[in-house]
Amino acid sequence: MLTMQNVSMVYRTESVETHALRDFSLEVDEGEFVSVTGPSGSGKTTFLNIAGLLEEFTSGTYKLDGKDTNSLGDTERSRLRNEKIGFIFQSFNLIPELDIFDNVDVPLRYRGFNAAERKRRIDHVIDMVGLGSRKKHLPSQLSGGQQQRVAIARALAGEPRFLLADEPTGNLDSEMAESVMQLLEDINSKGTTIIMVTHEPNLAARAKRNIFVRDGRISTGEPELQVAVGG
């Protein structure tokens, strides 16, 4: 499903070279639920950006669904993001001027579905996350948990092959966080591959596989302990 081999990412400014990822290699199979943890600055977000085709990397190879992404242009990368990947962000990233329906609609518009197909999908995913009665509400009228459910609905509407979640519960209280986690587990159980970046050990523990990143590499040490230290 997702194969990274020796991926490196170097940010250069005039005076400093920062190695965000060093020879990062990882394989994720279809249907997995992988959590990525690590201290802040460890390269989690860079990994997520590269995995999600949000950013290009310096060296190495990254194959998504068997396709080498190195050679792809922006349009092709955009299309892959749109069709294969669903994103869930820490701060939800809903568009404040659009209501729930239109927010979920955003990726579908870029997909080029016709109006009826879009409506069918939007209604389906909004019902799935339990917000069927709120379609005409603006994000600001919803609670944080509800907003994140909308974001999940938006990620799912395109029926992506895998979901990338960036601290999906980071801005939620524990009760809401729990319901979001249950939703993710539910989605995973239906076959969608999930990669979740988090710094919360107890959430990471619920994934089927844990990866611990430190200094831009996958660390082989005791992840729980390291996280506790890196906080």
Partner: protein
């Protein structure tokens, strides 16, 4: 295609967009009315006077010697001018087209004080008048030497019995006849003095450019011999400018009991007559350009703010699969919608403003096509103005989406 959500997003954040739409509307209203005035003035200025403007000039002489025999002086002056090398022809007259000062009177088709007449501009000329002004006689005949008389304050007829009129005047007097067929007909001046139309000119403007009857003129075969003589001279092509000082000097030297002055070419007379109109055109062009520049800079500024404010949103859209082109298109379409609201309300304001100005200042109503042309122009201006910020928006990295606030 994406219009629905763009529109819904617009109206949820309306105040600044309304302002820009209003600005476009006001720009449109001003532009349409300014262009309409420019068109009207340009049309006015492009009217031909019917004369050979490139070669004609005037010079006048004003005598201060009361003992002078003015008739003899004018006759001798005319002979001298006509014989001058480079002069095609010359005439003594009272005015010229576009001079903004002259003589007009009513001409009637029936004698008497109770019926309505039509105003006509009168040029007093001799048999050289038609040729000197370079007029086109389309029917009838020119005056002959024997038709021309000197105006005599103490005796003789007030009006010679023969006149030449323009086609416009012929149609004004005899709306049912073809202009050429009015030759031989009689009209009445001073209520009851009959004059016979012996010729019809294609065109000769009256001296007043703003007069509604500016195309209605009449030649009367009469010379006035008094202290003031206005000579209109037609030069052979290419000789006009060098002739002016020569003729001035020649006239001044021939008789020292007068002031020779007022030299002006027809080109200068035209420029002077339309000075305010051409100034108005230039002013309006300047105002419209300035306004368009300010409005487009406003659009650039507002779009830049809007892009900056929505950077994260743009990143999110990119993350969700929007290609660069889609982001570019989003901002272009957004601007198109704002401009559309602007130009549609602008069209309404423009028409309203025009109706008021037509009533208040007697302007010509706007031609309908200016409105769609202005709409398209402003749409284009908007699209060009927003292109820069929209392109910058399309370059926002999708990685912005995962960056925390």
């Amino acid at each position: 295609m994406e219009l629905g959500p763009i529109w819904r997003a617009l109206i949820r954040n309306k105040s600044s967009y309304i302002l820009i739409a209003l600005q476009i509307a006001a720009t449109m209203a001003l532009m349409v009315n300014a262009v309409s005035i420019i068109q009207e003035r340009t049309r006015m200025m492009s009217r031909s006077s019917g004369t050979d403007e490139a070669n004609i000039f005037q010079i006048y002489s004003m005598s201060f010697d009361p003992a002078q025999d003015y008739q003899a002086m004018v006759a001798a002056d005319l002979d001298a001018i006509r014989g001058f090398p480079g002069v095609a022809n010359a005439v003594v007259t009272n005015s010229l087209p576009l001079r903004q000062g002259g003589w007009s009177q009513d001409l009637k088709t029936e004698p008497g004080t109770d019926n309505e007449g039509s105003g006509v501009a009168i040029y007093f000329v001799d048999e050289h008048g038609v040729d000197t002004f370079g007029l086109n006689l389309v029917a009838g005949r020119n005056f002959e030497v024997t038709d021309v008389s000197w105006f005599d304050p103490d005796a003789g007829p007030r009006w010679p019995g023969l006149v030449i009129i323009t086609e416009a005047m012929a149609t004004e007097l005899f709306p049912d006849a073809r202009p050429a067929d009015t030759v031989g007909k009689t009209a009445y001046i001073d209520n009851d003095i009959p004059v016979t139309i012996i010729g019809v000119l294609e065109k000769m403007q009256a001296p007043w450019k703003d007069w509604a009857g500016v195309e209605r003129s009449m030649l009367v075969p009469m010379k006035r011999g008094d202290g003031f003589a206005r000579y209109v001279i037609r030069a052979e092509p290419g000789y006009r400018d060098e002739l002016i000082p020569q003729i001035e000097q020649m006239l001044a030297e021939r008789d020292t009991g007068r002031v020779v002055d007022g030299a002006a070419t027809m080109t200068e007379i035209r420029a002077n007559a339309y000075l305010e109109d051409s100034a108005m055109i230039k002013l309006l062009v300047f105002i419209v350009s300035l306004l368009t520049a300010i409005t487009s800079l406003g659009i650039v500024g507002l779009a830049s703010f809007s892009v900056a404010r929505r950077t994260k949103q743009i990143g999110t859209r990119r993350a969700l699969g929007a290609p660069k082109a889609a982001i570019l298109r989003y901002f272009m379409l957004e601007n198109f919608l704002i401009s559309s609201v602007g130009v549609v309300s602008g069209a309404v304001i423009a028409v309203g403003l025009n109706m008021w100005m037509v009533q208040r200042f007697n302007l010509t109503p706007i031609s309908w096509y200016i409105i769609p042309v202005a709409m398209i122009a402003l749409w284009l201006v908007g699209q060009c103005a927003v292109y820069g910020p929209a392109r910058r928006a399309s370059l926002v990295s999708p990685a912005i989406a995962t960056r925390s606030v």
